[in-house]
């Protein structure tokens, strides 16, 4: 299966997905750590994909969303943004609303 197919399958099969550097418990980058903190503060369950473990997914996810950086958050199959947008939406309450909304 191609990287694009694997990404699509993950994003379509899970409500909240975070592509990040490292694991949720051991983030390998400050921006990924910030993204995990936001999701944990909201208290939502999410699937974390470590792009450092898979170079094809690391490049593939950038093409998938037309977004050049990691982390990347997907909710209900939609690309939501990177860590800056996550932080902004967390502070305004938008992210919690988006995640609380029924899919």
């Amino acid at each position: 299966m191609s990287a694009q197919d694997r990404i699509r399958q993950t994003v379509e099969g899970n409500r909240v997905v975070l592509y990040m550097k490292g694991t949720a418990d051991y983030p390998q980058c400050g921006f990924s750590m910030r993204a995990v903190s936001v999701l944990r503060a909201i208290g939502v369950e999410f699937v974390a994909v470590d792009v450092l473990a898979d170079p094809e997914v690391r490049e593939g996810v950038k093409a998938y969303s037309n977004w050049p950086t990691i982390p990347q958050l997907y909710v209900d199959r939609e690309f939501v943004g990177g860590s800056d947008i996550m932080m902004e939406m967390y502070e305004s309450g938008e992210l919690e609303k988006l995640i609380a909304a029924a899919p």
């Binding site: 921006f31 950038k62 037309n66 977004w67 050049p68 950086t69 690309f79 939501v80 943004g81 990177g82 800056d84 947008i85 902004e88 939406m89």
Partner: protein, 83 residues
């Protein structure tokens, strides 16, 4: 090694009515932060706004720039923020 000034110039050249303030946060030529305003952002969500900035930087975003913390604003939002 990339310069904040170069990022500013590229973004301002690519977007209409644009003002960009770019900082080399770690002073390492790799980790930057920027506040950008442009009339092109009006009516777009944050993802589309950031994508316009990334597009202005093209391949540099993949090759030279490790991180670019971004805050995008429409001219109205910029006026409020900087008032």
């Amino acid at each position: 090694m990339f310069q904040a000034e170069r990022i500013r110039a590229m973004v301002e050249a690519a977007l209409p009515d644009c003002r960009a303030e770019v900082l080399d946060d770690a002073n390492d030529g790799e980790h930057f932060s920027a506040r950008v305003t442009s009339s092109a952002f009006v009516g777009l969500n944050r993802v589309r706004q950031h994508q316009l900035v990334y597009a202005a930087l093209g391949d540099h975003m993949r090759r030279d720039i490790h991180a670019l913390q971004l805050k995008t604003m429409t001219p109205d939002e910029w006026a409020k923020e900087t008032r």
